[in-house]
């Protein structure tokens, strides 16, 4: 039986429990990070920790552990579970709630970690994935969508749409009608050989792989810009790809739902994935 890490202790997953007065359980008032680990080490832990800290300030959840503490905890967890190629979920929330907003004067911070083996089929990076363009769901509002919070219902409904359509991911529009992001990935398109991704002002998560890919594009002096992505752009893009901690740089081979088309080959997406993995030392 695998182990979880609960508030500093490694415990059997069957015994990994929290109070029902945890605010993430009651209100989706929690923050989290999903960390891809390579060779037993979490990638870009510094950036994940920085985002966790920023979000903890926004939700007024005191972050009681340092970046070093988090690195140590993840190391222990992976070692205990004998995993090297893994995905770790870290969740931080406050305990102490009944009805309403009031937080107790001396609240308890809950921090939990669990891991699973990284299990993405490497052939997907060659063939490209199928994505479903949602016709009904709208991405969360700006001011909420940019917080990596456990109030994840919109994204879970989007994932259910993807699963139903046999797709890898669902793309969501924002309230302005532009394509914003996927349920767990950021969106990029290539038009006239220029790589385009929505700016943060479109109401999206500030994805860490997105940050790294933008830095690579800048460093390599490859044409790119941040701009809203319209239906027409998604329809006409030479390439479409998704970025995320577990998806790395994932080419899209087929689009279904509101827009229907095939795409490929994916020279830029493949180049960027190689460069991304190079920054990881792989």
């Amino acid at each position: 039986m695998p182990c979880s890490w609960i508030n500093g202790k490694l415990v059997d997953e069957s015994k990994a429990v929290l109070s029902i007065f945890d605010r993430s359980y009651l209100y989706g008032e929690g923050i989290f990070e999903t960390l891809r680990c390579y060779g037993g080490k979490p990638a870009f832990l510094d950036r994940h920790y920085q985002r966790l800290r920023q979000n903890s300030r926004r939700l007024q959840i005191p972050l009681t552990l340092s970046e070093k503490d988090l690195r140590f905890a993840i190391g222990r967890l992976l070692k205990k579970n004998k995993m090297k190629e893994a995905v770790v979920r870290a969740t931080v929330s406050l305990q102490g709630a009944t009805f309403g907003v009031e937080i107790p004067k001396d609240p308890k911070v809950n921090l939990t970690l669990f891991c699973r083996p990284a299990a993405l089929d490497p052939r997907l990076f060659e063939a490209g994935v199928k994505v479903f363009c949602s016709q009904n769901l709208i991405n969360d509002s700006p001011g909420v969508a940019d917080i990596k919070a456990t109030s994840y219902l919109t994204k879970m409904l989007a994932r259910a749409e993807a699963a139903k359509a046999g797709a890898y991911e669902t793309l969501l529009k924002n309230a302005k009608g532009n394509w914003a992001e996927g349920s767990r990935t950021n969106l990029f398109v290539v038009l006239d050989r220029t790589v385009i991704t929505p700016p943060l002002s479109e109401g999206i998560l500030n994805g860490i792989t997105r940050q790294v890919v933008l830095e690579i594009l800048k460093e390599k002096k490859m044409a790119h810009r941040e701009a809203p992505i319209t239906d027409l752009m998604l329809n006409n893009a030479e390439e479409i790809f998704l970025t995320g901690s577990t998806s790395e740089v994932m080419p899209v081979g087929e689009v279904i739902g509101m827009i229907i088309r095939k795409t490929g080959p994916f020279p830029l997406a493949k180049t960027l994935r190689l460069e991304y993995r190079r920054t990881l030392g792989i």
Copy 2:
């Protein structure tokens, strides 16, 4: 120490725990109801149960207990805690999640209940409350806002705004720019002696007190309609009131934030509260 009800058992609140693999904790994928109990009995339990059932279908959470079971469980909880005037929170979620959407084949349903004394100052119904009109937050999208789900971050941020402003409630606009609802209440205004509340198509929760008030207006042949509520309507309304299980029919005496004004007296709100309480047999 008060007791909670966890999956059929009354347990001391300090021991009321759930697995960290509960999907409400990890993803805000849970549904809930807040039930006001008068004289030890939950008001409109049939309607709350019906909504819970509808939401359970939408989130594919099997509802393993009947309306009768829920009534019995609430009765036991209140009796054990020696409460008669109380608020009960019921939460239903699935356990079994790691990353992504996949639900295990034989998932465990978690159902928890806890209660607190009903503690609203009755003078508020006379004086009216202060409400804050949010300038930054937008209500959740239609397709999500109408599910009473534990992905409650928008509403919690709204409550934090209210608390900061010393207000009872925060009103949120929808993406179309109309006033939609509060963080825990539905919104009504009175213009030209006609009671107006946003239709469900504005992306709001189908509040049970809202339903009952609309039925009273219809039965008493009082002028009313469902229509979007604009800035101008909120600014010029003769009366403004909120409805909710714990707020009953709550008059608004002062509006702050994006719109600033005082209102009162509240003859229609007071009449409707009396009628509402009459349907409860109080």
